[in-house]
Symmetry: C2
Subunit: 213 residues, 2 copies
């Protein structure tokens, strides 16, 4: 049991080290030697857990996908509206991209198609955003004429863009950036009723200013 | 004169070949041999024009920046409002990202910080978007309470995100994607007067649907 626990811990530290090295050096040029050194384990231990660099990258992307599913579940569990869950989850994702190197590297690997053209993590994220918007439409929260498809594309493009730009300056993943985006987007997509309710927190600032005007 | 012309043509084809190889293989793993072969010139000819891979990447980013400046100038020349010029230029940029491998590779190099942390092309683009929004604010086209800073960040994040996602599926750079984004964004940022005018073409669809409703 203690051995199993140690094996799990080694596996976890290898995934973490791989994520850090992929994020810093890029997937293609990074070496297994750098990763095992960073994890503080031998090359033999690395090969016990992962057949090759691709298997490590797959593990990073899988763990990032688990983290995204965790954010989605957390937002669903609050019983909030579909639109509120979407706002909360995108804000949570941006937080994770800033704080969790595995989520960050997972998105980068997916965007670089390191694991093939299907870019699974990005597709999972896109599909979930689309589902949330279809939910918001079904709940009558989207303004008439708003396309869930266009809206999902804009949200996915913004989250991917913020991650890439954070490589230049981490401030791009500051909470006010994604909150600012929602403040701009919500008036264009939500019904008057939703905008008038206290729901989308990100909209609060704009709304009270508009009321003063 | 004929020799100078030939030299210019060789230089241009090297920049084009480098952009294609960087975009396909990534900057770090790509080799000068692959680039000269693709351009159909000898290694000697490559070294006559460019000292190393970095100099080639710099030339790609510079030419991409020239193309962006060209788009900006074209939009300015129409005498349109600052907001219209911004809509037109982002649509033009997305077209260029789809059609012009040099613009595409220039943005990728800048996002990867291949030429250092300053990521000049992204900064140039961000600064111009910000200037356009300050112009729109000065012309009274932004709704009260709209932050030019937040709006510029959202626009830059979307354009960068669309470029990255197009690596997975070129459809992300289809015109309807960026037009769809403007349709969603404009109601949140423009004054009622601007929205009621025929100006931002991207908004037309939404507006007529809303009128029908």
């Amino acid at each position: 049991m203690a051995m199993q626990e140690r094996a799990l811990r080694t596996r976890k530290s290898l995934i973490h080290a791989a994520a850090a090295v992929f994020a810093e050096e890029g997937y293609v040029p990074s070496s297994l030697g750098t990763i095992s050194k960073r994890a503080g384990v031998s090359n033999g231990a690395l090969h016990f857990h992962f057949e090759n660099k691709r298997a490590l990258a797959q593990a990073v992307e899988d763990e990032a996908a688990d983290a995204v599913r965790g954010l989605v579940r957390r937002a669903d569990r609050t019983g909030a509206s579909a639109l509120q869950a979407l706002v909360d989850t995108t804000c949570g994702l941006v937080d994770s991209l800033l704080d969790d190197i595995v989520v960050r590297a997972g998105f980068q690997l997916s965007a670089e198609r390191a694991l093939g053209p299907e870019a699974r993590l990005l597709r999972t994220w896109h599909e979930w955003v689309e589902q949330a918007l279809l939910g918001a439409e079904a709940e009558g929260q989207l303004a008439p004429g708003v396309s869930p498809d266009d809206t999902a594309a804009a949200i996915v493009a913004v989250t991917v863009g913020l991650e890439v730009l954070a490589g230049v300056d981490p401030q791009w993943l500051a909470e006010r950036r994604i909150a600012g985006f929602w403040e701009l987007l919500l008036p264009g997509i939500a019904t008057e009723q939703v905008l008038a309710s206290a729901l989308p927190e990100a909209h609060e600032g704009r709304r009270s200013e508009a009321e003063e005007a």
